[in-house]
């Protein structure tokens, strides 16, 4: 009887991550083949990389100390432009996304409105902000207006989708209670649905403010106004100390926004 037990291996081995040996080997081999292909098809100009290393060191050295002084005027202008864009586009984007979001909530909107609003949200979400910015710069000319339109458009997709999902998750009993008191549709929306989604949506609005500032720092690279344009110019002129100063300012404001909005969100909820 005990003979059988003895025949089993006595040391424990860790079970493999992927149970099927066939799948395990296929994945492993295809990973290796893929890496080899990438290595083969990606041209790397090592001489150029080598040549760039001292330049990279120079760039890092430029952070100690960064040069805030010589481009101070441009930095202030760029940052304030970014901030205006962020404020206006967050407000306008959210204002537009409220009706779109309500229309995209399955439990409120009739089917045609629902599909139309969902399509609007999908279009707004499928393009990168930068690509949108290129087109809006073509249409509206260089400057912060194009950036404002870009960020507003991107905000609609983000905020509208989350609002729609939040409305779909609300408790129908509360809304029903308001409706049974004889409320009109608008009153029903205002007193039955809105209080349920409000706290979370305020938090998301602040979060979107954050995102919009980060994005406003890059759409300047394609001509959309804001600090990105200043940064791009600094790099083009190889003024690494000024670029370092701009990057430090961006990191500072992003961190301030993040902590500020985190604090406000905790206070609201």
């Amino acid at each position: 009887m005990s003979m059988n037990v003895g025949a089993l291996p006595r040391t424990w081995r860790k079970p493999p991550l992927i149970k099927s040996a066939w799948l395990r080997w296929t994945l492993g081999v295809s990973l290796v083949v893929y890496l080899a292909l990438v290595f083969e098809t990606t041209p790397v100009n090592w001489a150029r990389v080598w040549e760039g290393l001292p330049r990279g060191a120079a760039f890092l050295a430029a952070f100690f100390p960064p040069d805030f002084v010589s481009r101070w005027q441009e930095i202030v202008e760029g940052i304030s432009e970014s901030l205006w864009m962020t404020v206006v586009s967050t407000v306008v984007g959210i204002a537009i996304s409220i009706p779109v979001g309500i229309g995209a909530a399955k439990n409120i909107a009739p089917a045609p409105v629902y599909y139309f609003c969902r399509a609007v949200l999908a279009v707004s979400r499928s393009f990168q902000e930068i690509i949108l910015a290129i087109f809006f710069v073509k249409l509206f000319g260089f400057g912060p207006f194009a950036g404002f339109v870009t960020l507003s458009f991107a905000t609609i997709g983000f905020y509208g989708k989350l609002l729609a999902e939040d409305i779909e998750d609300t408790d129908p009993a509360q809304a029903e209670a308001v409706r049974s008191s004889g409320a009109s549709w608008l009153q029903w929306l205002n007193y039955g649905v809105q209080p349920q989604v409000m706290p979370r949506m305020i938090g998301l609005g602040l979060y979107r403010f954050d995102i919009n500032f980060r994005e406003s720092a890059v759409i300047g690279i394609v001509g959309g106004g804001g600090i990105g344009a200043t940064l791009n110019t600094a790099f083009d002129r190889y003024e690494f100390s000024s670029a370092a100063a701009i990057i430090i300012v961006i990191i500072g404001i992003v961190m301030f926004c993040e902590y500020g909005s985190g604090y406000l969100r905790r206070w609201v909820q």
């Binding site: 860790k14 098809t41 205006w84």
Partner: protein
């Protein structure tokens, strides 16, 4: 006898003071908004803005139909774009593991020295957009796919490390304790007590970031960091609008496919 007060009382949501505070806040917010819009409007040439609908119509006409034959030239850029995202994510994930290990409160070797450094790496990597990283790397190591890969990697370290260290901080300590009680060494405790608990989260984070990176890598070419953005930039500057529309279609298709793939993988893991 009880008397009914003569004054007609209607229900109000707030008392007078609260109402006043709320209105003041709204007024201030409106003032800030109008001020900011005024600033933007000062820097805007409104003639261009009023002209925009006509311009948009013009552009739409020029973009249709897409130049379908141009797709033959797009194979290589798309391959590059996918590689930038995939290899970039791979490098980021590998580098994020030690950073996350040092940043998590329960595994960090020293809470006073190493942890702040790790947190600083996470914050600075996260607050700089991939396009800015690419801008820097293109000036430093030259244009091309290589710069793109590192831009994506540098940007993703912070994201992956942040989510991973939060996952490490949420693990069940009793399992770690149980492994330690068997007399396991520090490395064994990590690999048998901690790794199995965070592995699903880790895989989920990697795939999620890969999906984001596919989107981001489509635009890196605009600053010279390789991929399909390079073609997009070239087509726009040369005003080949039929090529532009095809590139946009290809980008959308790539993004949709990557979203589908990542949803499938995440579904299989979790």
């Amino acid at each position: 006898m009880a008397t009914i007060p003569a004054r007609e009382r209607t229900w109000q949501r707030r008392d007078r003071r609260a109402e006043l505070v709320v209105w003041t806040c709204w007024l201030l917010a409106a003032a800030v908004f109008i001020g900011c819009f005024q600033m933007i409007s000062d820097k805007t040439i409104w003639a261009f803005v009023w002209d925009a609908p006509q311009q948009a119509g013009d552009l739409a006409v020029r973009m249709v139909p897409p130049d379908w034959l141009y797709i033959r030239a797009l194979g290589r850029p798309i391959w590059d774009t996918i590689n930038i995202a995939t290899i970039g994510t791979l490098i980021a994930v590998l580098l994020a593991i030690p950073v996350a290990y040092c940043a998590a409160r329960n595994t960090t070797p020293s809470a006073n020295v190493v942890r702040p450094i790790a947190l600083f790496i996470i914050v600075s990597s996260r607050s700089i957009n991939a396009l800015i990283w690419a801008l820097m790397l293109v000036t430093i190591i030259g244009p091309g796919v290589f710069a793109g890969i590192f831009a994506i990697a540098l940007r993703s370290i912070g994201f992956c490390a942040k989510l991973l260290y939060e996952a490490i901080e949420e693990i069940d300590e009793s399992q770690v304790e149980a492994v330690r009680a068997t007399g396991a060494s520090g490395a064994q405790v990590t690999s048998y007590g901690i790794v199995p608990q965070v592995l699903p989260a880790f895989a989920g984070i990697s795939v999620f970031r890969w999906d984001i990176n596919i989107r981001e890598s489509t635009v890196l070419g605009l600053v010279g960091a390789g991929g399909i953005g390079l073609e997009l930039n070239a087509a726009i500057t040369q005003l080949y609008w039929t090529q532009v529309s095809l590139i946009l279609l290809v980008i959308i298709a790539t993004v949709i496919v990557s979203e589908w793939v990542s949803a499938k993988i995440r579904h299989a893991i979790i």
